[in-house]
């Protein structure tokens, strides 16, 4: 690890792209993605971008409101973006398909999220040291 050459220019630290395919409501993948994202940032690695694809785009629904016992599974991403400057990107095609975003009218997304195409994901995959997919 110490002599690993990385794009961050700092030895031992890696630049990550995460892709979240899972909806916030089913299975463990979305929880796992958030846990992983928090852990790598805490360790000093760089979280370049989180790309929400497939049912993962439901993370960006700003009107979603969960009962308190389901806690922060939506807000926590906005918080991470706000505190750590992480780029949260929702796939335009996947979001359009699911009614999360409308290309004509635009749509309000949860704080910290923006919409972009698959090309941005590909760019991240090619630029960063590690690419992980959840769900």
């Amino acid at each position: 690890m110490d002599d690993l050459e990385t794009s961050t220019g700092e030895k031992g630290f890696l630049k990550y792209t995460l892709q979240v395919n899972a909806s916030p409501y089913q299975g463990e993948a979305a929880d796992l993605a958030f846990g992983f994202a928090s852990a790598l940032v805490a360790k000093g690695h760089v979280l370049h971008r989180v790309f929400f694809y497939r049912d993962g785009v439901y993370h960006a629904l700003w009107r979603a409101s969960l009962p308190p016992e389901e806690g922060s599974r939506l807000m926590r991403w906005s918080k991470l973006a706000n505190e750590r400057g992480v780029d949260l990107v929702v796939c335009s095609a996947a979001a359009h398909r699911r009614g999360v975003w409308d290309p004509e009218e635009g749509s309000e997304l949860a704080q910290g999220f923006r919409v972009a195409g698959l090309a941005l994901l590909v760019e991240s995959i090619l630029e960063t040291d590690r690419y992980l997919v959840f769900g």
Binding site: Y53, A94, A119, L121, V122, I125, L126, Y131, V133
Partner: protein
């Protein structure tokens, strides 16, 4: 960059493979070297003459026959996945290359990026 794209879900898996395919084609548009590997239920994708309208579903299968247009070669198929489903590569809708399960680790290690559906 050498990338391999794994497809593991069958045609009954909704639009899963279709959305994965879109990402793969975007990657191809960036001039990356891409191989496709079908394994587990993914091998059902290449069965000929699939007609999802019979079960009232829209056709959401990826256009497998267009791989060549994007500079992607014949798909790889895991031999055991075929055998376990009583399939043979020559009964599939297009020519494929086979790779055995024992060689998969070495095969996958030769790529810079591994993606999946």
């Amino acid at each position: 960059m050498r990338c391999v794209y794994l497809f593991r879900s069958g045609p009954g898996g909704g639009n899963r493979a279709r959305e994965a395919f879109d990402l793969m084609l975007t990657l191809a548009a960036f001039d990356q070297e891409i191989e496709v590997l079908l394994l587990d239920d993914g091998v059902w994708q290449l069965l000929p003459d699939q007609r999802s309208e019979r079960r009232g579903a829209e056709m959401v299968m990826p256009p497998w026959n267009e791989l060549g247009l994007y500079g992607i070669g014949e798909p790889w198929v895991e031999t055991e996945s075929l055998r376990e489903r009583n399939l043979e590569s020559r009964s599939l809708a297009m020519p494929v290359r086979e790779v055995e399960r024992d060689s998969l680790a070495v095969f996958l290690r030769s790529f810079d990026r591994i993606l999946g559906d």
